[in-house]
């Protein structure tokens, strides 16, 4: 695929994800992984996991992980196109529907849609966790880091950035 073709395909796919990301972008990570890692081989598993980590740790919203993917595929143009693709469709919908919320907020169909989608989106967040663990945990130490992070963040309100820092130090020591 030419670089132009890649940017086009990426934009179309991310625009679709924008409209399917009920509950935020964590829900569409498995689909993004399928598309960019498995189907198109634009990123390796480790790069996908790295971009997720950078997006979590860096100042700025997590959905900009998609800009990092775009950067990897086609540089500056790719980053801009990916960011626009993930933002514009959902943003346009929010703009269009924002003023109507009062009218359908209490409608029975609205609640049925919300309650019907909720378990599915939750299953998709678990799938995100599964896909990222498989991408990031390639030995005993990384597996232990993941397990300890789950236990500590579940049991306390500790800012996860401290765990990221500790994990980064272990990595700098060559243990990961």
């Amino acid at each position: 695929m030419t670089q132009f073709g890649a940017v086009g395909a990426l934009s179309v796919q991310f625009a679709l994800l924008s409209l399917l990301s009920f509950g935020g972008v964590n829900v569409v990570l498995p689909e993004a992984h399928r598309f960019v890692v498995e189907t198109n081989h634009w990123l390796s598993d480790q790069e996908f996991a790295d971009f997720f980590a950078i997006a979590q740790a860096a100042p700025g919203p997590n959905f900009l992980m998609f800009a990092l993917i775009g950067w990897q595929v086609a540089g500056l143009v790719g980053a801009m196109a990916a960011a626009l693709a993930i933002i514009v469709p959902a943003g346009t919908l929010a703009f269009a529907v924002g003023g109507l919320w009062q009218r359908f907020r209490d409608a029975p169909w609205r609640r049925a849609v919300q309650w019907g989608l909720a378990p599915i989106t939750l299953g998709l967040v678990y799938a995100s966790g599964f896909v990222l663990c498989r991408a990031a945990d390639h030995n005993g130490v990384t597996f232990a880091i993941t397990a300890i992070t789950v236990i500590v963040t579940l049991a306390s309100d500790l800012n996860p950035l401290w765990l990221f820092l500790a994990a980064g130090v272990l990595g700098a020591m060559g243990l990961t």
């Binding site: 950078i54 100042p59 924002g98 963040t153 130090v169």
Partner: protein
């Protein structure tokens, strides 16, 4: 709007657009793991643009709609204050500076990402970040404990995307209609 007494009116014209841009830039850049707590602090407590109730209300709309919550929030509040120009100013606040930061990080990654120590650091952090999203999923599960039937749909979504790697569109097309129908039916039974 009737909530003018509890919240203070935004400034008019270009000043108002600049305010929106700056407020959303601050929200977007601060905070970890979801900007929503910071949004409440910036918009309700500090600037008093929204009442508590208003905020909760707008947030539930933004969570109902697809897309990044913070983008939806910027579009809705921007529109309410200054129409399309307001939405675009707020959206620019969310995206512009963080996107520059992310592009810089992308460039650094391309240059140094595979070098020994940096590679190790990222590999450690990505293992921790993968653990954090598992925690997010576990926390989100708590309200669902009372609904064993709907858990079947969650399990099917997990299997379809995580294990079988099916296309998301197909997974949603198969699972969403019966799951929504079930929710509708349970709701009707409660009434």
């Amino acid at each position: 709007m009737s909530d003018q007494t509890a919240s203070s009116a935004p400034r008019r014209g270009v000043d108002g657009l600049v305010d929106l841009f700056l407020a959303f830039m601050q929200i977007s850049l601060s905070g970890f793991g979801g900007a929503i707590n910071w949004a409440h602090r910036a918009l309700v407590e500090k600037r008093r643009w929204m009442t508590d109730e208003d905020f909760t209300e707008t947030l539930s709309l933004c969570q109902f709609l697809p897309g990044p919550n913070i983008v939806n929030f910027a579009m809705c509040l921007g529109q309410r204050q200054h129409g399309l120009a307001g939405s675009l100013a707020a959206l620019a606040g969310v995206v512009a500076v963080p996107l520059l930061i992310f592009i810089a990080l992308g460039a650094l990654y391309t240059r140094f990402g595979q070098i020994g120590m940096i590679h190790g650091v990222l590999s450690g952090i990505s293992a921790a970040a993968a653990g954090f999203i598992v925690t997010v999923a576990l926390r989100l599960s708590r309200p669902h404990r009372q609904r064993p039937l709907s858990a079947v749909f969650g399990a099917a979504a997990f299997l379809g995307m995580g294990v079988l790697k099916l296309p998301l569109l197909s997974v949603l097309a198969v699972l969403a209609p019966p799951s929504i129908a079930l929710a509708w039916w349970m709701q009707a039974r409660q009434r």
